[in-house]
């Protein structure tokens, strides 16, 4: 008994031999294999990114003369490709932001409204259920299935006429495509946003909402003052998810804006043709372009990272 007590509460010097023996005992063959396996997987997943990054800093002789994942040496190192990529993609960055940011914010907000309606409002369950069913069904419609109806729909909408005042201000009328992208992405993202917010609002304390009702707040005021301020973590999740989806989407831009020569061409359209010519592919330029195109999504992750973790946990 006294021996046990001493081992537990003993000083460092007394406990040392036992501790080091324990440490050695912990490292068995299984652990060694496990960590080696994990290390192997880490390398496997990081190699492409590392290769892309080092390639983007190489000049043509560096690209052809060294292994893809070998870093550039003094002679083959250059910022030239990043500069060229940025020159080519700059307008695409702005065009993409022009539709990705509004579409993300609007779809998140509308999703939050809709989810609030089908969870916390006192509408009858028999009216809520079909609405929810429609939203859930919306999630499962593949992009490819709507491409033809989508382009037909936009050819029927006289958007060019409606936005005439913008063209009169000297804005290129290709930007109608950006408006189309905003509306399309909001419509397409709304179901998943609603379902994500719904699960979050379902877990919100019902008694708290009832307390607010008894405190005299209307359904709108409850949303404004109670539900919206408490939705931060879920907004982080939805904003990150939607922004990444919309920013990276190529399919809708191909259908609605179509060409990289358009003034409203988003970054993904320009990136698709970047560094490809009759002489072959400029891998370094393509890599640099890819990283530039990925930077905004990375920035959004970093900006909302903390709330994101909280939102995913709930």
């Amino acid at each position: 008994m006294s021996n046990d007590a001493r081992t537990d509460g003993g000083t460092v010097t007394e406990a040392d031999p036992g501790a080091s023996a324990g440490l050695l005992a912990g490292i068995d063959g299984y652990r060694v294999l496990l960590y080696l396996g994990l290390l192997g997987m880490l390398t496997f997943f990081l190699i492409p990114i590392e290769s892309g990054l080092v390639t983007s800093f190489k000049n043509p002789s560096g690209v052809s003369g060294s292994l893809p994942f070998a870093p550039p040496t003094g002679g083959t190192f250059t910022f030239e490709k990043w500069r060229a990529a940025f020159d080519a993609l700059g307008r695409g960055l702005i065009n993409s932001a022009l539709y990705a940011i509004p579409a993300t914010v609007i779809s998140a907000l509308l999703g939050s409204f809709a989810a609030y309606g089908i969870t916390q409002s006192d509408w009858k369950q028999k009216y809520k259920a079909p609405v929810l069913a429609l939203f859930v069904a919306g999630i499962f419609i593949p992009y490819q299935a709507v491409l033809v109806p989508l382009s037909q729909f936009w050819s029927m909408v006289p958007l060019q006429e409606w936005l005439g005042f913008l063209w009169a201000l000297g804005i290129n009328n290709d930007y109608a495509g950006v408006v189309e992208l905003v509306v399309t992405h909001v419509a397409y993202g709304l179901p998943i946003c609603t379902v994500l917010f719904r699960s979050y609002y379902k877990n919100m304390s019902e008694e708290m909402i009832e307390a607010a009702r008894l405190d005299g707040a209307s359904i709108r005021r409850i949303y404004r003052r109670i539900v919206l301020p408490l939705s931060g973590p879920m907004f982080a999740v939805v904003l990150i998810y939607q922004f990444t989806q919309i920013w990276n989407d190529l399919l809708f831009t191909l259908v609605l804006v179509q060409t990289e020569s358009s003034a409203a061409a988003p970054i993904v359209l320009i990136l698709a043709g970047l560094g490809t010519s009759l002489e072959g592919q400029d891998f370094a330029l393509r890599m640099a372009g890819a990283f530039i195109a990925a930077l905004p999504t990375l920035a959004v992750y970093i900006a909302f990272g903390e709330e994101f973790a909280e939102g995913v946990a709930t």
Binding site: S205, M208, L214, D215, A217, I226
Partner: protein, 372 residues
């Protein structure tokens, strides 16, 4: 003023193809400033009743009137009712001050200054003035409870509704808050409807108690009336701890014949009984007296099975000498009385303390006598 009337209030929940009657024709009339405790076992419909008064549940039939006005179709936010929830339901993103001010901001046209003054006053009353800048997450359970109460009193409503507000507190804090709530209600003189499953809270706090069972109102009366003159067997068994002992008996002339004992009745008691023959005899544990010898009319020899010493008194589980083992009833005797398991003792069941209930309907046919 805050008179609150429930008139045949009924709540029916649909359940698959059928329906469940949660509250069945409850009639309660509360005068202004009254503290009414609604008590009953879980699932008896007491919370549903409260939520109907609050407007959080629709009323299937019947009428609720506040100050003479029918409020069935008035939205909760317009009823001028404040409610304290079991979970406190504080707004986690607001400070204590924000929580308390919210109701005033939403339901009145008061200026910011007036709101601030009223919040400060209410916080002073509740002893939480120094917590106003904190958020609910930084408060202890007892402090949150005070904030929840403060949020209700700051609005100065016609009616307070409280849904088991003390059940999340530890025993010591609960008895403290019980006293404080009573003091507060007395001071504010606001009509209060208080729901609990705890009969101690019901006995100690209420001006009157309403006892519900299976959605039906059993009795509305003062705590002592409920205790000494229960309307039926359910009330008799629910109010009081340890609860009343019940023995099924058959009336045979002037005698009640039980499984293992006979009990003779006086003429006046027999008058109350009338022609009912199937009866239940009820006796409160503290009315069972230790008798020196077995010569009296209503004395019985018993065996002590278990003794639970509480300090001030002993809870004794007794068994009639002829009864099979395990068929016990409870008596409470003074803490200094030496009683131990296995003892054979003689007890008296005095006739003036006996309750009699109809064996089938459970209605009280005779209640104990009370010395005026």
């Amino acid at each position: 003023m805050g008179t609150l009337e429930l008139d045949g209030v009924t709540k029916v929940f649909p359940d698959g193809d059928g329906e469940i009657v949660a509250v069945d024709g409850v009639d309660i009339e509360m005068r202004d400033g009254e503290f009414l405790v609604v008590v009953g076992p879980s699932g008896c419909g007491k919370s549903t009743t409260l939520r109907m008064v609050a407007g959080l549940e629709t009323i299937s039939s019947g009428e609720i009137r506040l100050a003479g006005q029918r409020i069935n179709d008035v939205k909760p936010q317009h009823r001028d009712i404040a409610m304290v929830f079991q979970s406190y339901a504080l707004y986690p993103h607001m400070t204590v001050e924000g929580n308390m001010a919210f109701g005033l901001e939403e339901s009145t046209d008061l200026s910011d200054g007036e709101i601030e003054t009223r919040v400060a006053d209410a916080a002073e009353t509740m002893g939480i003035a120094e917590l106003l800048d904190r958020k609910p997450a930084d408060l202890s359970g007892g402090q949150r409870q005070r904030v929840a109460l403060g949020r209700a009193i700051v609005r100065d409503p016609e009616v307070f509704l409280m849904d088991e507000p003390l059940s999340n507190l530890d025993a010591k804090l609960r008895s403290e808050m019980r006293t404080e709530l009573q003091r507060l209600q007395d001071e504010l003189d606001v009509t209060t409807m208080y729901v609990t499953h705890d009969q101690t809270e019901a006995m100690t706090m209420g001006d009157r108690i309403a006892i519900l069972n299976a959605g039906e109102l059993q009795q509305v009366a003062t705590p002592l009336e409920c205790y000494h003159e229960p309307a039926n067997r359910f009330v008799a068994g629910f109010i009081g701890d340890p609860s009343m002992n019940f023995f099924p008996v058959e009336r045979d002339g002037e005698t009640l014949v039980g499984d293992v004992f006979d009990y003779s009745l006086s003429a006046s008691t027999l008058d109350d009984v009338g022609d009912v023959t199937d009866l239940t005899l009820g006796i409160r544990p503290e009315d069972i007296a230790l008798a020196g010898d077995s010569t009296g009319d209503h004395t019985f020899s018993t065996v002590v099975e278990v003794v639970e010493p509480m300090g001030d008194e002993n809870t004794v589980y007794l068994r009639f000498a002829d009864a099979p083992e395990g068929e016990t009833f409870i008596a409470t005797v003074g803490g200094l009385q030496q009683v131990s398991a296995g003892d054979e003792i003689t007890v008296e069941i005095p006739e003036e303390t006996v309750h009699l209930f109809d064996g089938t309907s459970g209605e009280a046919v005779h209640n104990r006598e009370i010395d005026e």
